[in-house]
């Protein structure tokens, strides 16, 4: 089963995403900030990460930069979801390899479609297996 890490400091957001993705056949883990997310990524293995940007302790941007540094040959995909009015984040995201920018408010249907696009139609088939 393909596993997704959802990172957001808003617990209701992570909850509803987790619920929807699990119903869509994915295995979902959540983290409430970049620090926690980095820990989970380094420990486990994920097929995709969905992360917010504005978070306490470690922002989504810092988290992604840390990932680039620690796992330069990262295989999994990153979805950057933000409500930021700053275009700079979108620019930055474009330069980040294997990533996609998603604007908040997030549409779960759209997220699901993008996940299928990048990870394949059947969520139960693990591409790494």
């Amino acid at each position: 089963m393909k596993s997704i890490l959802v990172v957001d400091d808003e617990p209701r957001a992570t909850r509803v995403i987790k619920l929807s993705l699990e119903r869509g056949g994915y295995q979902v883990e959540v983290a409430s900030n970049g620090e926690e997310a980095l820990e989970k990524v380094l420990r486990g293995s994920f097929d995709a990460v969905v992360t917010d940007i504005m978070m306490p302790r470690m922002t989504g941007r810092e988290f992604c930069e840390q990932l680039q540094e620690r796992i330069p040959d990262r295989k999994f995909f990153i979805f950057v979801a933000t409500s930021s009015a700053d275009d700079e984040i979108e620019e930055w995201c474009r330069d980040l390899p294997r990533s996609e920018f998603l604007e908040k408010p997030l549409s779960i249907r759209h997220l699901m479609a993008r996940l299928r696009h990048h990870l394949g139609d059947d969520p139960s088939i693990d591409p790494g297996a």
């Binding site: 957001a13 930021s84 700053d86 408010p105 779960i108």
Partner: protein, 613 residues
Amino acid sequence: MVGVKNERLGLLLIASSLLVILVTTGLLLKFQTDSRREQARFQGVSLARLLSRVPYEQLVPGTGHQGPLHVIKHAQGNPDFAYATVVDVRGRTLAEVTSPGVIVPQTPIGSEPSSWLGERVLEQTGTGGSVREFFAPVLTDAEIVAHVRIGFTEPGYAMVFEHVPFFALLALPIFLLAPLSYFLVRREIAPIAAAGAAIRALLEGGAAPTVQVDATGELGEFIQSFNRFVEMTQQRLQEYRSERTGMLASSRVISYQKTRIESVLDALPDAVLVLDESGAVGLASAKLEAMIGVPAQTAMGRRPQDWCESQELLAFLSRFQREDSQLHRAESMEFSPDETQLKRLLAIAYPLLSARKVSGASGTLVIIRNISGEFAARQGQAEFVDHVAHEIKSPLNVLSMYSETLLGKDGESEDFRIEACNVIRDEVERLSTLISTLLSIARLEAAVVGLNRQRVRLGDFLSDTLEAVSRTAKDGSTSCKLDLSGEYSPIYVDKALLRVAVNNLLTNAIKYTDAGEVTLSAEETEKSVLIQVRDTGIGIPEGDQPRIFEKFFRSDDPGSVRRGGHGLGLTLARQVVELHGGEITLKSAPGEGSEFSIALPKTLALLQEPGQS
């Protein structure tokens, strides 16, 4: 000076010519005298010897006969000849011939044979002159019988003069000509000397006199031309002087204006730079140093690459150095002059259009403005907008996803529907609170809100506020306590605003306290009225305490993060308290709890009804 010198030269000329004449005459006279004396000696010695050999009888003929003496008198042609006489050994004259007017001196000759032949000079009685006499013995049978004496007048200078009229004639015109020529020359050069004096007067800055001369010919023409020249020069000089005075005056005016313009430029808050067509700095105001650390004097006259350290500014200024890239309209650029990026400057370049040049600018005016304040405000504004967007979009995000999910299969689950409805209600409330808070902050910041002071009884106000808060507190595990001691003076505050402040403190206290106690208390001292909110909650990490009142500040502490919030409640509380002239302080220890104190100083405004004096 020159005149005196000329005169001295003239006198010297005369003196030296006289001297030359005298010396020449003297030398000639001496030569003549010497040669005549030599002639006399030769003739005298010869005659004396010749006559001494003539037999006595022939030498002294009898009376009535002319002897050889007469022959000598007539035969010899020497004008100096004085006399020839024969005397016996006793000195008596035996025969004699004399030149007219000559008296033979009666001086005996010595009796010694050694003194019979010789030469001597004798005084001539009566005339005062002298005679050179040559004498020899006349012997008959080796016996002396008589002496022959031949006398010649010693040639005197006066006498010689009479014989040299040629020299006198030569000397006289020379003697007369020298001073004459001197005076003639002097008279001729007088106009030139006058011209010299005129030039001197001109050089010394005075008025040059016109040289008056009645000379004709070349000199006359020269003097006329000279006079015209002097007149013209004087006129030019006059023109030049008045021009110079005018220029001096206008240069003073210009310098005064320049100083004034410079001080105006220096007084401007912006730095002003003027670049000429080649890009070099023609003018720089003193503010340049404050802006980019380069003194105006350093930049003056130099191209930017020689003084500009900021690469961004250099690139901007360098564009105006090339003829083809002259400005046609104003251009601007923002930059930071140093690495720190704390200072933000705005450079605006305007083309300087000149009347001389039809196309293109004849230089560039560059104004450098310090916009650090605006920049920081802009940054802050951008940050604020970013925060607001995030705070609004976060609940919208949740709302959007929940509603989307409700429409899907999950919506069929009763549990999910209930959860979704609760979430939606909460998020809407959160949004609405946020919007009210933002509006309050905006109004407070814009000082739109004047304080609507009204009489408030502190005890009632606090108990009402606490009651309202505890009613909305969902969790019943935290108890809220009111601790009022005694009576309080009525205070005049904006009740609605102060309620927001106290409400925010209480809400926070309840939010960050799990199963503990929140106490609201009040205390009146001599100087102030204190309102305190104490809790036994999670406390605030020491590092976060200084920033806790900042707009949108959220602690990174996990306990705090979990509880959510916008980070605006304390900001609002502080603004309200400060608007009342009060102060809000914090005491907190992590794990033990926090205590926020509102201190309202007992000013007239606080204690007296508005309008009351």
